[in-house]
Each structure stands twice: as C-alpha cells, then as structure tokens.
Symmetry: C2
Subunit: 196 residues, 2 copies
Amino acid sequence: MARLREFDEDRALDAAVDCFWNRGYEATSVRDLAREMGIGGASLYNAFGGKRALFERVLERYANRSTRERIARLEASHRPREAIRAFLAEVIDRSLKDRDCKGCLLVNSALDVAPHDAELGRVVTGYLEEIRSFFRRNVEAAIAAGETPRGTDAEALSIHLLGVLMGMRVLSRTGARRRTLEAVVQPALDLLEKPH
Amino acid sequence: MARLREFDEDRALDAAVDCFWNRGYEATSVRDLAREMGIGGASLYNAFGGKRALFERVLERYANRSTRERIARLEASHRPREAIRAFLAEVIDRSLKDRDCKGCLLVNSALDVAPHDAELGRVVTGYLEEIRSFFRRNVEAAIAAGETPRGTDAEALSIHLLGVLMGMRVLSRTGARRRTLEAVVQPALDLLEKPH
DNA sequence: CGAATTTTAGTGCAATCGTTCCAGAATCGC
DNA sequence: GCGATTCTGGAACGATTGCACTAAAATTCG
C-alpha cells in the first residue's frame, strides 16, 4: 500500500531518550532530536506527531527500559529487603558510571516540565508512584517475613525511600561521589534492618 | 554626574527571582524578565549585564533571602537539634503554601542549568554546601550536648539530611501533600532522637 | 546654565524555535 | 506497470530568542 519506514523506531526513540535526558525538554530542539535520531524533521512529525508527543513516548520508553525493567529483574531474583537494597545500589552504580551526570529522566522531568504541563505531570507522577509501589510492596513483604524492626510502617517508609531516592538523584546530577550518595541512602536502608 | 536609576534594583531582582523560580532558566526569556521587572530590555543589560549574569545575581539573592536568612534565624533562636527540625518544618510549610509548586530555586537549578554550565554548577553546589554545613554544625553541637544516639556520625548524617531535603523538594514540586513530605523527612529527624 | 554622563524606551538583528509544506522516492494491491 | 499511499530530505513558515544600537530624557558637576 505504501512506502515502508526506513528507520528503526525503537532505535530512534532511544536516541530521543538520550537527547531529552541530557539536555531537558525545553533545551532540546526538534532539529537536535532529528539529527541525533538520524531522521528528517518531517519523519519525526510523521512518526511521532511532534516534540511533546515524542516526549511522552520517550518517558514511556525510559520507564519501561530503565525503571520497570530494574524493578522486575530485582524483584524476581532477590528477597524483599535485598531487592530494595539492590535497587538503590544499582542506581548509585549507574549514576557514578554516567560521566554526563544525567541523573534520572523522571526526576529531571518532575522539576522541569511537570509543573508547567499538568498532563505530563500526571504521567511523571504515575511513574514515580510505580517506584514507590515497588518499595511499599517489598517493605510489606519484609514485614510479613518478620525481617524488619517492630512497628515498621510500610506506607510511611515507602514514601521515605522514594524521597531519599529523589534526593540521591539530585545530588548525583551535581557530580557527587560514591561516598556522598551512599551516605544519603544508608540510613534509609538501616530502617529495614533489625537493631542489634 | 549622571542620571539616577529610576527602578529599585532590589525590587527588580526579586521579580527576576520569581521569573526564574517559576519557569526555570531556559524557559525564561529576557523579555519576560524585563516585563516582570518593570524595566526595559536595555536597562536590564545596562544594570545586570545580560541573562546569565542576572541569573547569578538571582541565585545570590535567593540564597541570601531564603536559605541564609532561615539558617541564621533558626540557628540564633533554637538549640541545635531543634534548629534542624525547624528548618525542615519551615520548608515543608512554605512548600505547601506555594500554589505554584516552585520548589527550591537551588534544587531546580542544580538539575536544570548546573550540568550544562560548570561555573553556575559550582555556584549552586556551593549554596547547597552551606545548607549541609548548617546541618553538620548542628548535628555536631547536638552530639557534643549528648542529645543524640550513641555513634552518630555528623558528616554522614549531614549528607543524609541534605539528600532528604533535596528529595522532599522534588516531591513538593510534583504537588505532594503534607503527609507525604512529612513522611519523607520524619525518619531522618528520628536519627537525632535518642531511642526510648 | 552648559557639559558630561548614564538611564530610558523602542527598534533592529541574526539566529533559532516548533511546525508545516512540498516534490520526489519507495512500496503495496491490483 | 499503475494508482494509491506513505515515506523521505529540504526548504520555508511565522514567532521568538538573546543581544545591540539609537536617540531622547534626566541628573550632577563646574
């Protein structure tokens, strides 16, 4: 019926993720995007609709490939408390490896675009809630397994863990060292450990 | 010798603070700034040098009027542990009162402009270090007063407090409720409290 | 007052913004 | 091969960007 698309949509999306992740929404131009994605401007509008619509696809892809993948993988291979610990440790490792200090696209977006675009704000908040839900699920499981201190509140602790994760992401974007990031996170992990 | 300036530089700076605070560096245009500051574009360049130079003045004014003022005031009127508690409580109160969810200009800048401008990055990091230094100073004083749990590490705890503050600021920008913000902060404050 | 100096509003500039349009190329059912 | 359809690179759109320039207005010193 019609001409076939020449470029790989997933590869192009990955390139767009890198663009928005590096420079933020406002500072990334459609021309930058098209160049990095290896396509023409017309193809971008043809395939993705425009800058904003592309950004929604980018957020979704980032969530799938980064956040959801990590949650599923760690939850499948670790006991509850260790899943939380491994999640934070992995984020620290990746943050330190990233020379560009890109931080987390969801956190960057929460501060950059969410306040000025209610719909995108709800999307970002939804993804953050998925992370918190992961924390909450595993804190509850750890409580049920009797591995946590007495009186642990899963709801409150999951919020605290999300906040600590956000703060660590902010500091990692400013180029913090490993010792700093671990000092941010450690006390939160200690709350899951029975006092001895 | 020369004509006197018609506008009040401090009032104009305050208006510029609001602009950058609301919309971020990139998304704020010089024309927006001039209009909100009540001056012409030429006056802006004349008095402040340009957008970037103005932003540095804005960061300085924000730090003086918001962060440093709060630190000095609370440190003068509270005992060490209560100064930290009051600091976080005040930030929560102000975050909830702010309908625009502007968050903290320093945090917003740390994610928005710092990674792309090394010099501004150092400026922002410096202001954040002042906050951490406030935490550290008061944790040390609390330790010296014997008010903290045994084995409290002032350096590590001050980093944790800074991270928790950053995280709370991120979540406040997404429109979090009081219960959420307090849940983020409470466990960090508990670390200053002797177990009973 | 006259000269010197600096602020002011307004306009202009080259560049870039997100987006659209266009002509040509490629692919399908027929 | 043909018509229909969708893709492609490239040019062009109006709007806006940060910044520079001009002439008039205002102030202080001599």
